[in-house]
């Protein structure tokens, strides 16, 4: 694998992760538990989808085969998607959406802080931009997570169920393969085990404040780095890609 191929895969992985998460969160638009929360989640979805656009645009440019970010988003099937499986998990109740989001926001904060130091100027620039947005997201989602955990018996139980269920998808966020190895050597990619330490510490603190129990020694799902996904992804793509696949020349 050349550096260019690795960089394409890397930008694609990051872009796909943001795209699928943004799409998932958008499902709440107009269905939030109350108006301010509806707006908050929609805003978060917008930031994340915007980051996806920048990353996929860059992936297309690195690939250099004349594809655009829209081609990458709309004309690939599930086995060609590299998003982390946690992003495709159904929204569930509001506790589950918030738990998933807090886990990812926390990852993003430490991940982008490292990626901002990348020797790749575009990735570094996108990361610098994202840090500002993610800081807001994390503050919002962790405050909800603490309120749910330390709230009523019902909200506590729902939050704990979500933590238990989603924890099994967090291991994958830190997996590295040949792509990472090549790019770390070039000073481009982020060393994920270092991010994992910070993430675990942060999540432990938040869960403790929320009076929730951090799962230990759980089975971790894997596969997305090779394009293997849970059944949910294909349904997301079917909805997201229906229009551009049915009307390939449609213009907004």
């Amino acid at each position: 694998m050349t550096t260019q191929e690795a960089l394409f895969q890397y930008a694609l992985r990051l872009g796909d992760t943001n795209l699928i998460l943004g799409q998932r969160l958008s499902e709440w638009t107009g269905h939030g538990p109350f108006l301010e929360e509806d707006l908050a989640l929609t805003n978060i979805a917008l930031d994340i989808t915007g980051t996806a656009k920048s990353l996929l645009e860059y992936a297309a440019q690195v690939e250099g085969k004349g594809r655009t970010e829209d081609d990458l988003a709309y004309l690939r099937n599930d086995r060609q998607y590299l998003n982390a499986q946690i992003t495709e998990q159904p929204n569930g109740d509001y506790a589950k959406t918030i738990v998933r989001q807090a886990m990812i926001d926390c990852f993003d904060l430490y991940f982008y802080t490292e990626l901002a130091k990348s020797k790749d100027e575009t990735l570094s620039g996108i990361a610098q931009k994202s840090i500002k947005e993610v800081t807001y997201h994390l503050r919002h989602t962790t405050s909800w997570l603490i309120r749910f955990g330390d709230g009523t018996e019902d909200s506590h139980n729902r939050a704990q169920t979500a933590v238990n269920e989603l924890w099994a998808y967090t291991g994958e966020m830190f997996e590295m393969n040949e792509v990472d190895a090549i790019l770390i050597k070039e000073g481009i990619a982020v060393d994920l085990p270092a991010v994992k330490l910070k993430w675990e510490k942060h999540m432990s603190d938040v869960l403790e404040k929320a009076t929730l129990v951090k799962p230990e020694n759980v089975f971790m799902h894997t596969g997305s780095r090779k394009g293997i996904h849970t059944e949910h992804l294909a349904f997301i793509l079917a909805e997201m890609q229906a229009l551009p696949r049915m009307y390939p020349d449609a213009k907004w």
């Binding site: 994340i48 980051t51 931009k129």
Partner: protein, 163 residues
């Protein structure tokens, strides 16, 4: 060349922000560089306010329309991400126009990180200038705004987030 650059900047300063028409795109600070390639070709470097801000595409279209109307035939627009956009780039005079429009302008510089540790900032009501205001939501009607309410005149208002 310097004169042409100034002239182009002047033209761009006449383009209002698509969502907040009382400030221009140059007030906002999103135009990072103007490069004159030849008499008819210009390259512009633009930085987004927020990653997903839908106004950015509108701004690009408005810029093209404006410059093409002035005889430039080839406008290259490149997005730059670094350094990331900050509300510190909005000039004081434009902040005053925001206030008059009913949007509380960003109060502090981004150097002040105290809000991250839970310290709430005092945001003045843009209508009655009361300090007695309350944060309703960190996320408002657009990506760049938070929602506040004045406890004295009871008006809800937008606050231009400090990032």
């Amino acid at each position: 060349m310097a004169l042409v650059k100034e002239y182009i900047y002047q033209l761009l300063s006449e383009i209002p922000d698509p969502e907040i028409p009382v400030i221009s795109i140059t007030d906002l600070g999103v135009i990072r560089d103007i490069i004159i390639i030849d008499e008819v070709t210009i390259e512009l470097k633009i930085t987004p306010t927020y990653s997903g801000c839908p106004a950015m595409k509108q701004i690009e279209d408005d810029v093209r329309k404006k410059l093409i109307g002035q005889g430039f035939t080839s406008i290259k627009i490149n997005t730059v991400f670094s350094p990331p956009w900050t509300t510190d780039w909005i000039n004081p005079e434009a902040k005053e126009r925001l206030r008059q429009y009913g949007i509380a302008p960003p109060e502090h510089t981004t150097e002040d990180k105290s809000w991250l540790t839970g310290k709430e900032k005092v945001i003045l009501c843009p209508r009655c200038k009361s300090k007695n205001t309350k944060l309703i939501s960190q996320f408002g009607s657009t990506a760049c705004k938070a929602l506040y309410q004045c406890q004295d005149c009871l008006e809800p208002f937008d606050y231009f987030k400090c990032i």
